[in-house]
């Protein structure tokens, strides 16, 4: 990065943060702080909902997924449009009628206080954990790129988002998200265009190579439960994951409840229902095209430059140096076979094309084997090293192959993505702690100004907690998967609480509470046991279905055992 890149990076981030802080510096009430400006329209809500979900992980890790595994991750989002339709039709009108600040207030109205607190507590645990991961992601990039200390990078990025979120509340989150999304999509589209211009092959040839190397398998109807992404896991597991995330996670509920009317909130959700799949497809395709680009340009053995250089320094036997040479030779051979493959295709020689493609595939497998060997050596020399480099693929491409200025814009985009989701999470964590715990349990009759101040303090508290968690996080298998796994462990029970509340009128608070508690322990047990019993190692998306079904069934059984139909529960929305 040169001074121009730094100017673009720092200038755009600080300008957006300052804009959000300045425009929202005066809050009249808790309502304004938690819900924002009541003139917000559907497009702003739609962008805000998309921005909250699309963290830095989305724009860093997803191209890495595309590079490694192709397009199949897009199936993860197949259940989302259907879930959003259900939320718009059923969940949203109820939230708005009750005039709630948080989704968990509804549980208090429908069941009882303990069930409301359970739902809110599960949200705080799961979102608190995810908040640490989302702040960790951009810190990795910037610490690698700039050679900064990781802890310093986490602190700086965390403090920046805390400042404008604490100061401006929900409105600052929404305002800054709009501009941050503009920076992100400006950067991503520019990167895609430059990438296509740099490809030595035509777009048709690029798709031929990607398809020939099995990177364009977007849809699979396989019934193999061990296969992580299929049409079925995406449709069923993705449906329940999306239903719980968008319908019951306060970081999302708070976004669409900020709309000026039910219509604006609904249209904001439908905006996401239509555009999410193509957006994810575009980001994955970007990763696939980076893969094609590196078929003509020698890729690094390991995409995390800093970790690789350190490993080479520590490698006394020189094994990594030998592997590097073999890797270079294998890449050159692979490129030759790819050229022969394309030449045969252009000549219309189908037999030669098939033979060359087969040789290219064999060469690619050899290259992948050498990469795996290098990782094994790195892990053997230093068991603490993170051997998964998928999250570094796109960043490495940006740094090595994009022009200056655009590098700064892309770095700003990654950082902005982290800030936009982080700010919504902090806003929601602060709101839930204030409304569902502090105001509900500790201090019921304080003034509005008191609750406004408390909300700011709790937002600050969660921001500092996220920083602390990020400081102790390690690079897990893949960042975006880690976030989804955390969600899949905790969300299904929260979702079941709401589904029972909406659709099973005969289940009361006590049965619901204990059913939910047992179901949560069951999901946690299944997740933890898969480390000991490999046969339980099925796609984490199924946790959503298992946890939700278990919770609904248990609550019904417990209610039957308790014997009496509960009286209709009534409550005040402002409790």
């Amino acid at each position: 990065m040169n001074p121009l890149d730094f100017a673009v990076l720092i200038g755009s981030l600080l300008a957006i943060a300052a804009y959000g802080t300045w425009h929202t510096r005066r809050h009249r009430s808790l309502d304004h702080y938690l819900r924002g400006d009541e003139t917000i329209g559907w497009l702003t809500i739609g962008i805000s909902v998309a921005a909250t979900q699309a963290s830095a992980i989305t724009f860093i890790s997803t191209p890495g997924q595309g590079y490694e595994s192709g397009l199949d991750f897009v199936q993860n989002y197949f259940g989302m449009p259907l879930a959003l339709i259900l939320i718009a039709a059923v969940f949203l009108p109820i939230y708005r009628r009750l005039n709630v600040y948080t989704a968990y207030e509804y549980l208090g109205h429908r069941f009882d206080a303990k069930t409301r607190l359970l739902g809110a507590a599960l949200f705080l645990v799961s979102r608190g954990l995810a908040a640490g991961i989302t702040i960790y992601a951009p810190a990795i990039i910037l610490s690698t790129v700039l050679g900064w200390r990781l802890d310093l990078t986490i602190l700086l990025s965390g403090l920046l988002v805390i400042v404008y979120t604490v100061a401006g509340g929900s409105q600052a989150v929404t305002l800054t998200q709009k501009w941050q999304m503009a920076v992100i999509f400006g950067g991503m589209v520019a990167a895609f265009v430059i990438l296509l211009m740099k490809l030595p092959a035509s777009l048709g040839d690029a798709f031929t190579i990607a398809g020939g190397f099995n990177k364009l398998n977007a849809v699979s109807f396989s019934a193999d439960p061990h296969r992580r992404y299929t049409f079925w896991t995406g449709l069923l597991g993705g449906f329940f994951l999306s239903l719980s995330y968008f319908g019951t996670d306060q970081s999302q509920v708070q976004r669409y409840l900020s709309g000026s009317s039910l219509r604006e909130s609904r249209l904001g959700l439908m905006f996401n229902a239509v555009l999410k799949i193509p957006m994810q497809f575009f980001i994955l395709l970007l990763g696939v095209m980076v893969f094609v680009f590196y078929q003509f340009e020698k890729p690094p053995v390991f995409f995390n430059h800093a970790a690789w250089q350190q490993a080479v320094r520590q490698d006394a036997d020189g094994k990594l140096g030998t592997l590097q040479q073999e890797f270079n030779t294998a890449c050159a051979q692979k490129e030759q076979w790819i050229h022969r493959w394309l030449d045969a295709k252009h000549a219309g020689d189908r037999t030669a094309e098939t033979a060359a493609q087969s040789q290219a595939l064999t060469a690619l497998e050899h290259v992948n084997t050498l990469r795996a060997d290098a990782r094994a050596v790195m892990e053997k020399d230093d068991p603490g090293v993170t051997s998964n480099d998928a999250d570094y693929v796109f960043v490495t491409f940006v740094l090595d192959h994009l022009p200056h200025g655009l590098i700064g814009l892309l770095m700003a985009a990654f950082f902005a993505a982290a800030l936009q989701s982080k700010s919504a999470e902090l806003n929601a964590l602060g709101a839930t702690t204030t409304v569902d715990f502090y105001r509900h349990l500790l201090k019921r009759d304080a003034s509005d100004a008191h609750y406004l101040a408390a909300s700011r303090w709790f937002t600050l508290f969660w921001g500092l907690m996220a920083i602390a968690f990020a400081l102790y996080a390690n690079l897990v298998e893949n960042l975006i998967q880690a976030v989804n796994i955390v969600g899949s462990v905790f969300y299904p029970v929260v979702l079941a609480l709401f589904l029972v509340a909406f659709f099973l009128k005969r289940v009361g608070g006590t049965a619901m509470f204990w059913g939910a508690l047992v179901a949560q322990l069951l999901v946690l047990a299944v997740y933890l046991l898969h480390y000991r019993f490999p046969q339980l190692d099925f796609s984490y998306l199924w946790y959503n279905l298992i946890g939700c079904a278990a919770c609904v069934l248990l609550s019904r059984i417990l209610q039957a055992a308790l014997g009496s139909t509960p009286k209709p529960v009534t409550a005040t929305p402002a409790s």
């Binding site: 009108p93 708005r96 303990k114 039910l262 409550a571």
Partner: protein
């Protein structure tokens, strides 16, 4: 721990037909959309989509579902073309 009662809690079955407390800038009453009764019993401007060509929410949801099916078909076509 229970909070004092004040109002009935809406469910999908009950909510559309009950009048509840005004919420922020929400209307005081809710509508059943006039279905089955000939004319709307209650007024709620939120039920109107205000979109040309997609007049009711059912139209909007069908449009979104159609888009979803279209994306899946296109992705399937891409998969089959290059597999």
């Amino acid at each position: 721990m229970n909070v004092p009662p004040e109002q009935p809690v809406p469910t999908p079955q009950s909510g559309a037909r009950h009048s509840v407390r005004a919420a922020g800038n929400e209307p005081m009453t809710l509508t059943d959309g006039g279905q089955g009764t000939g004319a709307p019993r209650l007024t709620d401007v939120d039920e109107l989509t205000g979109l040309r060509g997609l007049r009711t929410w059912r139209d909007v949801y069908l449009f979104v579902f159609g888009c979803f099916v279209l994306w899946v078909v296109l992705l399937l076509a891409l998969t089959m073309s290059y597999s």
